[in-house]
């Protein structure tokens, strides 16, 4: 029951992030504003990592997936490393990419670099 509540909270915060409008763009890629929802997700700790990874699967909105990668980066849980590598590869392999594909790849780049540093 408690974990379900945690998942609901995560979903609610992710919905907030879906509505975020980027203000800054660089190298053709939108830059994710660090809204308070990001900080709240990070404050929930590594217990939410499995649910975040689950939320990044399937046809999740790309902006949401990019934010999930950003939160996983800040959580710093190395369990997320392999799924992030797969997530990045999935978006890199798309024949036609839009700016949000690049945002996902970019956030995965940063998170992977950070997590790989922890495993060395």
């Amino acid at each position: 029951m408690e974990s379900l509540t945690l998942a609901d909270q995560v979903d609610s915060l992710l919905s907030e992030l879906d509505a975020a409008e980027p203000v800054s763009f660089d190298l053709g890629t939108p830059e994710l504003p660090e809204l308070d929802a990001v900080h709240q997700l990070v404050a929930m700790g590594t217990a939410i990592v499995p649910h975040l990874l689950e939320c990044a699967q399937g046809n999740a909105p790309k902006k949401r997936v990019a934010y999930i990668a950003m939160v996983l980066n800040q959580l710093g849980d190395v369990r997320a490393l392999a799924p992030l590598l797969d997530l990045r590869a999935h978006h890199q392999q798309r024949e036609i990419k839009d700016e949000w594909d690049y945002a996902v790849i970019g956030q995965c780049d940063l998170a992977i670099e950070q997590l790989q540093g922890k495993t060395r």
Binding site: G28, P33, E34, D101, L110
Partner: protein, 363 residues
């Protein structure tokens, strides 16, 4: 030593003049003399003397104009090597005058040596020519000798013994070449530059670098550098380009860019990444090692000489009718080689008040 050489030249040039045929009476024409003097400076006294000797003893019917012409052609050769032609494997070097064939490894290396240091290159190239004359090797079908366009080179250079074998008398050892600099010119880019106004170099546009964004309203006036305001984005187009020596391998250089948000306020609120520096390219998710993000072209014209490696950036700030934004970004874009980097700094400062762009400055 210089005195000795000068004396020797004078005493040995005289017979050539005496044996000159009437057709060669214009040998003393100042232009021809100048050409020979120029040739002496380029390939050395001894080589010119041997040319004159060959001309005087066995080739009396030939005009010394041949030698002068050789000098002219030689000069043209040196000029060819200074053009920003690529000497990468498979790319032709030279002209269509007879030796414009794909460079072999040896020739590519010659080009590489010659192109590293432009000012003394003609002299270095002449030294290579001397080696070719004094120490001929088996030729076969190779054209590793002096690639002179026009007159048959038998008329103007010493030929190796029949069969092209190594000469019986070993050639004197070439003087030791000056020690190369600690880092050769392929270890570091020559320069890194930016286009912040006017046409992009290489015939490129922002759409060349970002075909996925073409016509999507991410930037304005895609073919030129400078600021833009699309009505919901204020930003700027910038082309960043580094020059490397033409013979260097482009793959040995990579692009980097960092961004520092020196001021970032939205509706008065300080944004979390104000004051922070990021790896801009990693964050972008773009592949900076390949086209379209990375575009390469030969320099020359308005671009620096050499081989150009470039990228472009259209940073922008999105806004709507109620936005109040202060956004200052400083960028450092670098072309990095094994021996160091060349960087260029640029920045974009944007102010938006109540949905109107009041300032948008690219420097």
């Amino acid at each position: 030593m210089p005195t000795f050489a000068r004396t020797s030249k004078t005493s040995r040039q005289a017979p050539s003049v005496k044996t000159a045929s009437p057709a060669r009476t214009h040998f003393g024409h100042s232009r021809d003399v100048n050409k020979i003097v120029q040739l002496q400076r380029t390939i050395g006294n001894q080589a010119v003397l041997r040319l004159l000797e060959a001309n005087g003893s066995g080739e009396k019917e030939r005009s010394t104009n041949d030698i002068a012409r050789f000098g002219q052609q030689f000069s043209r050769m040196a000029a060819h090597t200074t053009t920003p032609m690529s000497v990468h494997p498979g790319v032709a070097t030279g002209t269509s005058g007879g030796y414009g064939e794909p460079a072999t490894g040896i020739e590519a290396n010659r080009g590489r040596s010659a192109a590293h240091d432009p000012p003394p290159m003609v002299h270095d190239f002449g030294a290579l020519r001397l080696l070719s004359i004094r120490a001929p090797v088996a030729r076969g079908g190779s054209h590793a000798d002096i690639p002179v366009a026009g007159a048959p080179e038998e008329q103007i250079v010493d030929q190796p013994p029949a069969g092209g074998a190594t000469p019986a008398t070993p050639a004197p050892a070439a003087p030791a070449a000056p020690a190369p600099p600690a880092s050769d010119s392929c270890a570091q880019a020559r320069s890194m530059n930016k286009v912040t106004s006017g046409a992009f170099l290489g015939g490129l546009t922002m759409d060349s670098y970002y075909p996925d964004l073409a016509g999507a309203g991410f930037y304005g006036h895609p073919g030129t550098g400078g600021t833009f305001d699309t009505g919901d984005r204020a930003g700027a187009n910038v082309q960043l380009y580094g020059a490397i020596a033409s013979p260097c391998l482009p793959d040995q250089f990579h692009l980097e860019q960092t961004v520092t948000r020196t001021r970032f306020r939205v509706n008065g609120a300080v944004q979390p990444d104000e004051g922070q520096t990021h790896d801009d390219i990693a964050k972008s998710g773009r592949d900076a090692t390949h086209s379209p993000f990375r575009q390469e072209f030969l320099g020359g014209g308005t671009a620096p000489l050499g081989y150009i490696i470039s990228m472009a950036d259209p940073p922008s700030t999105g806004y709507n009718a109620t936005s109040n934004i202060e956004h200052d970004r400083s960028f450092v874009t670098s072309l990095v080689g094994s021996g160091g980097r060349k960087s260029v700094n640029w920045s974009l400062s944007t102010r938006i008040v109540n949905g109107a762009v009041t300032s948008n400055v690219l420097t």
